[in-house]
């Protein structure tokens, strides 16, 4: 088998922290090589060293000339057309001007290689995120990239889109491309990986074959045995704390009824676009709605008023941590006290930071933390506010297994104290494993409710059902 990249003994420090510690890595032609590890284990640093964004302190890398990285934040220009993005940087020219005709001729051929059938004249901003990824991959392939590094591409994709991406990856592997694939979804790894390099604390702790079990992967990753992935501790439900009834926003969601009792975790499952996040935001007062009521502990909330919702005891951990949850220019402590600015209490702040087991000091800039620790900060700012009901929207997206379990334990602790949690999640095993009841939404309506112990098939059957208009 042809080796495309050989990295030996890669070591990289950032200040006093050792981000990479003697990592060896081989990338073969025609393989899907998964990099697995918790957030902060060194995956991103390794990718950046391979790509030449960072220089390693010691160690050698051979063969990285034909390498392309597809980052999570896509490097496309939204206002330009698909064709222009494909040839960005080396637009074909004729008589000194951009050769539009030639560009349009060559574009479909490139798009074909990733199985994307869109109008090359369409603006990139009008395409979905999955299609945008494909455009970046097509662009990388046109530069004859022999090695393609995909940094958590599936984190932003729906299930069908993920399936499509994995198909394309299999196709590229067949054509002899070496693929480095970073993902937190173990099922995806089992479907496509040829080899898995597991990183922990900057070191490569093992290279696994394609038939590695989930358990084996997790244990290598966290460095200790994990008893249970979803350690939900049930409570006896008390009085209703959050009552959403008849909530309607024309064209977005209709007649949504959800009740969450003290001590209870209610999950909201459904496909992307089913209206789950929209209901959560409307209930919290971020967006308005046309009809219906939202009440916390029996008291109705005014529409479109976040401050009133918080005062009544509601909290929301939004789906996009970086865009909606954190002030990245500020420190951990400053982020923790965002909600409780009016009555600051530094003792409680340190107390919560300790309880959350946030790796990093309170004075540290929050952008230096790993994704999992950042998410704990977002949850922590709400714990400081002491809400009766916390709405969690995709709380473990892009979070590693170890931090996931810690977040689940936080949910358990909240419900044990008589609080209620509304859990919106696209991760089916999670929403089933952690919820006491699962409300399934489809096309902006509640399609049904399932008790604890429901199967993924039951949830999916409700999620995809057609509701007569």
């Amino acid at each position: 088998m042809k080796t495309l990249i050989t990295a030996r003994g890669i070591t990289k420090h950032f200040g006093a922290t050792k981000a990479l510690d003697g990592v060896d890595l081989d990338i073969f032609a025609g393989e899907v090589h998964v990099l697995l590890g918790e957030n902060g284990a060194g995956k991103s640093t390794l990718v950046k060293v391979l790509a030449g964004i960072h220089d390693q302190d010691s160690g050698t890398i051979e063969g990285r000339t034909s390498l392309a990285v597809i980052h999570q934040e896509l490097a496309l220009v939204p206002e330009l057309s698909v064709a222009e993005n494909l040839f960005l940087n080396r637009l074909p020219r004729r008589f000194g001007f951009v050769d539009r005709a030639g560009m349009r001729r060559r574009a479909p051929e490139l798009l074909d290689r990733v199985g994307l059938h869109v109008d090359p004249n369409a603006k990139v901003k009008d395409l979905g995120i999955a299609q945008q990824q494909m455009i970046e991959i097509a662009r990388a392939l046109d530069k004859n990239a022999g090695v393609l590094i995909l940094d958590e591409p599936t984190a932003v994709l729906t299930d069908t889109e993920t399936d499509r991406l994995l198909e394309i990856m299999a196709q590229l592997r067949h054509n002899g491309v070496g693929l480095v694939f970073i993902t937190h979804h173990l099922d995806e790894i089992q479907r496509i990986a040829d080899r898995i390099t597991v990183l922990r604390d900057g070191r490569s702790v093992g290279v696994l074959g394609p038939r590695a079990t989930t358990r084996h992967m997790i244990e290598l990753m966290v460095g200790r045995p994990i008893d249970e992935q979803y350690p939900r501790a049930r409570q006896r439900p008390g009085q209703p704390l959050l009552s959403i009834s008849g909530l309607t926003k024309r064209g977005v969601f209709q007649d949504v009824d959800i009740e969450v009792h003290a001590g209870e975790v209610v999950g909201i499952a459904g496909l992307v676009g089913a209206g789950r996040t929209e209901v959560a935001r409307a209930a919290f007062g971020v967006d308005g709605y046309d009809r219906g009521t939202v009440a916390v502990d029996g008291k109705p909330l005014p529409r479109h008023d976040v401050q009133a919702a918080i005062k009544a005891g509601l909290g929301l951990v939004p789906e996009d941590r970086k865009r909606q949850g954190l002030v990245l220019t500020a420190t951990v402590g400053q982020n923790l006290e965002l909600v409780t600015l009016a009555n600051r209490d530094s003792k409680r702040l340190h107390d919560i930071a300790g309880k959350l087991r946030i790796k990093g000091r309170v004075e540290q800039p929050v952008k230096e933390l790993s994704g999992g620790n950042q998410q704990k900060v977002v949850i922590g700012k709400w714990l400081l506010a002491d809400p009766k009901v916390l709405i969690l929207d995709e709380p473990t997206r892009g979070v590693d297994v170890g931090a996931k379990v810690e977040i689940y334990e936080l949910i358990n602790r909240m419900t044990a104290q008589g609080r209620a949690v509304l859990l919106v999640s696209s991760d089916l095993p999670e929403v089933i494993g952690m919820s006491d009841r699962v409300v399934v939404m489809a096309h902006g309506r509640v399609a049904g409710e399932l008790p604890r112990g429901a199967t993924q098939d039951q949830v999916m059957a409700l999620a995809v059902q057609e509701i007569p208009a």
Partner: protein
């Protein structure tokens, strides 16, 4: 110390180091620079821009910009001369409130809203002054005078505003909200911060500070003219940026802005002492601003 805090230290004190180097170079070339009276003059010359720039710091930290401060200063000074100083302050704060309302409730970009105010406030100054300078009363004139032989009031006012700014930024909810909004407006909103009302306050404060700067300027000159403080908004922005604030918001400190304003004043004073022709002074000052921003950008990389 983590890399970030070292970097923070360097960027904070980078401007300060620049100021010291600048002063040393000028003192070497023209020892008269170190004369106590001259140093006091530098402080007085820095005061107007510094007070304005402190108000601008609130705006910039919150991710905005205020182009109208020069015009507001002129209008407030004129109103102060025609009526009384405190009325000028109220007018300045009101202009700021209008800016804030246009930005918060009218959803105009700060650049546009304050550009409009730049023109409106300057126009009103021309209208009310009928194109003529007006003498200031003794209260306003007092603001520009010496409290004692070596104790110029503008300098003390600058230090007072510096203290207020530092307090507001670091010790009040309003200040913490400014950093949150400038760092991530969406996250601030979702954390229950009333972003719109906070912005109203921020621009009102900027207007108030600009008015105070205008009154100090008029006090020093003994009159308020229709063309007072033209272009001062750019100096104020320059002072904030030299002080290490980020125009994309979320970063900035009162000490940085003070140092930034002093850098500009030391430079102007030094160039005068070195008898650099005024036309060339503009070129040098522009180059220094670019250099300061460049150094800061290199340090952050």
């Amino acid at each position: 110390m983590s890399t970030i805090s070292i970097r923070k230290y360097a960027s904070e004190n980078g401007a300060l180091a620049g100021l010291v180097v600048l002063a040393l170079v000028i003192a070497f070339m023209q020892p008269a620079f170190l004369n106590a009276q001259n140093l006091l003059n530098v402080g007085v010359q820095a005061a107007v821009i510094a007070i304005m720039a402190f108000g601008m710091t609130f705006v910039v930290v919150a991710g905005g910009i205020d182009l109208s401060v020069g015009s507001i200063a002129a209008l407030a000074a004129l109103v102060g001369a025609l009526t009384a100083g405190p009325v000028g302050l109220v007018v300045g704060a009101l202009c700021g409130l209008v800016n804030g309302a246009l930005i918060s409730y009218g959803k105009l970009p700060p650049f546009i809203a304050t550009l409009a105010m730049l023109s409106v406030a300057r126009g009103l100054t021309l209208v009310f002054s009928e194109g003529q300078p007006h003498e200031t009363d003794e209260v306003v004139t007092f603001l520009g005078s010496n409290l004692a032989p070596m104790l110029p009031l503008p300098l003390l006012l600058m230090l007072a505003f510096f203290g207020i700014t530092g307090l507001v930024l670091t010790r009040t909810n309003l200040g913490r909200r400014m950093y949150a909004i400038g760092g991530n407006e969406e996250a601030a909103k979702l954390s229950g911060i009333d972003v719109r009302r906070t912005k109203l306050w921020i621009y009102a404060l900027s207007g108030l500070f600009a008015a105070a700067a205008g009154l100090v300027l008029a006090g020093r000159l003994g009159s308020a003219g229709p063309q007072a403080a033209v272009g001062y908004e750019l100096d104020a922005i320059a002072a904030v940026v030299i002080g290490g604030a980020s125009l994309s918001g979320g970063v900035g400190r009162a000490t940085g802005t003070l140092v930034g304003a002093l850098v500009l004043a030391v430079l102007r004073n030094g160039l005068n002492l070195l008898q650099v022709p005024p036309f060339w002074q503009q070129v040098v000052i522009g180059a220094v601003i670019a250099l300061a921003a460049l150094l800061d950008s290199l340090r952050r990389r």
